[in-house]
Amino acid sequence: MISLTDFLIVSAALFCIGLYMVVSKHNAIQILIGIELMLNAAILNLVSFGKYDRFGNEGQTFALFAIVLAAATTAVALAIILNVYRRYKTIDPNKVDKLRD
């Protein structure tokens, strides 16, 4: 059997790569991909602990909820990014600094 620690270390690595992308990238779509990577690391944790709950299935059920929430997040975020691009002609979050024109 694979130990839980291995799963946790893999998910910590993925989370840190996602964190690096969120902090360093200058492109909103790449930042979104970084957020997806962090969400996936969290889902991996939920699933690996969910192995020890055969009857309740808490881990796996909430992993499913997290996946669906990620889909909703992405749809709204992409719509916002498209609108920002239309208004500012850039999707660099550092340059978008006004709420209105």
Binding site: F15, C16, E36
Partner: protein
């Protein structure tokens, strides 16, 4: 070292390596396609964690839905975005990158120290669930159980999340309308 462990290390290596390529890639479209590989490797890891239903959901929703949505939004946003991204790549500030790398590295070290100190295999509730025979075994069929739990124990979160998804989709459709027609 049995086959399952070899597969686990293989999948973990693919996931982490392709995630690193996503993070370091210069071309946005290429990094999106590398993200496909990361998500497939993660689905493999979910299978190895004995969560096959979650793995299938990951493939259907993440790969079929989210990534295709990102690709669509990217391709539909026109040639100017592509040009803009290319010119932006060249004038990269490296001090920002070094700081981000430092932050992520330190956070990773802190997480690994915490994980090793926690020693998840010997947690009280994990040991108790092993003693109570509450562990998913590799040949168990879990999908029925997940469906029953979703419709009984977790019915309220299930309904709430369906309303939330509907609201998010309506909101996304409203936000991405053209400016002129929206009042």
């Amino acid at each position: 070292m049995n086959l399952m462990q070899i597969l686990f290390y293989f999948m973990a290596f693919i996931a982490v390596a392709s995630a690193l390529m996503v993070a370091s890639g210069k071309n946005l479209v290429r990094s999106i396609f590398m993200f496909f590989i990361t998500l497939f490797a993660l689905a493999g890891l979910y299978v190895l964690a004995l969560a096959d239903f979650v793995a299938i959901t990951q493939i259907v929703i993440y790969l079929g839905g989210i990534l295709v949505l990102i690709l669509f939004a990217f391709m539909l946003s026109g040639k100017e975005t592509l040009n803009f991204i290319r010119e932006q790549k060249s004038q990269f500030i490296s001090a920002n990158k070094v700081l981000a790398l430092l932050l992520a590295g330190l956070f990773f070290v802190a997480l690994v120290i915490m994980i090793i100190k926690t020693d998840a295999n010997n947690l009280a509730w994990v040991k108790q669930s092993i003693a109570n025979n509450n562990v998913i075994v590799p040949n168990a069929v879990m999908t029925d159980n997940i469906g029953i739990n979703l419709m009984t124990t977790y019915l309220l979160p299930f309904e709430v999340i369906s309303i939330l998804l509907l609201m998010a989709l309506v909101g996304a459709a409203h936000l991405s309308r053209r400016e002129g027609r929206a009042s």
